[in-house]
Symmetry: C2
Subunit: 216 residues, 2 copies
Amino acid sequence: MQARRLINNPEAVSEGTVNRLSLYSRLLALLEAEGLTVTSSKELSDRMQFTATQIRRDLACFGQFGKRGIGYQISDLKRAIDKILGVHLRRKVALVGVGNLGSALLGYRVLRDHNFEIVAAFDSDPQKWSLVINNVLIQKPEELTETVKSQQIEIGIIAVPVEGAQKALNLLVSSGIRAVLNFAPARLATPRNVQLRNVDLSIELEGLSYFLEHEV
Amino acid sequence: MQARRLINNPEAVSEGTVNRLSLYSRLLALLEAEGLTVTSSKELSDRMQFTATQIRRDLACFGQFGKRGIGYQISDLKRAIDKILGVHLRRKVALVGVGNLGSALLGYRVLRDHNFEIVAAFDSDPQKWSLVINNVLIQKPEELTETVKSQQIEIGIIAVPVEGAQKALNLLVSSGIRAVLNFAPARLATPRNVQLRNVDLSIELEGLSYFLEHEV
């Protein structure tokens, strides 16, 4: 079966599809909060920037969810999407770099709301060691490997200056972390079995610039 | 002509295409730094996660850039893309909210490297007024409208807690700002002629979670 093949072959699913699944999950939560129980790709499309065809095609990668002529059960579809994304489980996160950005991330409630929890933070500045921010103790980088293993941390966040980013990545990878979110504006060399996502805010601003340049 | 029509009708170009233009521009800068002068959609594709077809299709939205059998002149293509994105001009940015995240943004060199400059910052906390962070004076929100006009600021960044986000957006919009980057985890009501981009880090983490859930 087509859907089954793709589930077993997740690399065939594009990053765009995965990102849209997150957005569908958020919209479904909103519809549920509004008291709705059933929806359609048309209704989802009306409230998002994606076409109904796009939505149906994304979902079809993972199976058959709706019923023709009836639509989708909102709670079932949301649960299914969250399971595909693996966010039905709480994921533990290690933060490397507790400057302004790192401190902001420690206070960023959205992560916890979506089942991600920063449980450990590391900084090379001795003045920060033993400080506690939002219930998280700041530790020496030398303690990272042991903490990752003992706490079963799965995801790393790099929030250090660009000069230290590759070193931070190497430390996370050598500790067994296979999924990393990087805020440093650096192209990091990454082993094939490690998933790295770069957050580049200048790309968002360039999208706004495009709008300003072309608006009527 | 197809290309011409689309330039005059930029809403027909998807956000995905616009985001990819930013990535093409960055890769072209890198190739230029490596001493290359000519490239191809195949070579660009080999160094990115996009297919050569995707790259050609994105560029075709805006005209005819390469020569069949020869490829793209790297410096010409980069200049053309930067012009499409409107980043050949420096854009002035106003920051609303100077907590940890706002402070991090004031020190974020990447923005300046890409021709965006935060020239004014605003916070409702009187203790922060008159402070200067990275050469930017922190002002009262009441001064925003006049500053936006006198400094010809075009873009706003919202880095306030969720409770204050709609108020911050309203203030920016009433001051004439038409492009806003929002970090607060809130769905903000936005006038039709204003472009709002939301940064949601939990979506990036969900992409990593998907990878962990499905990796082989």
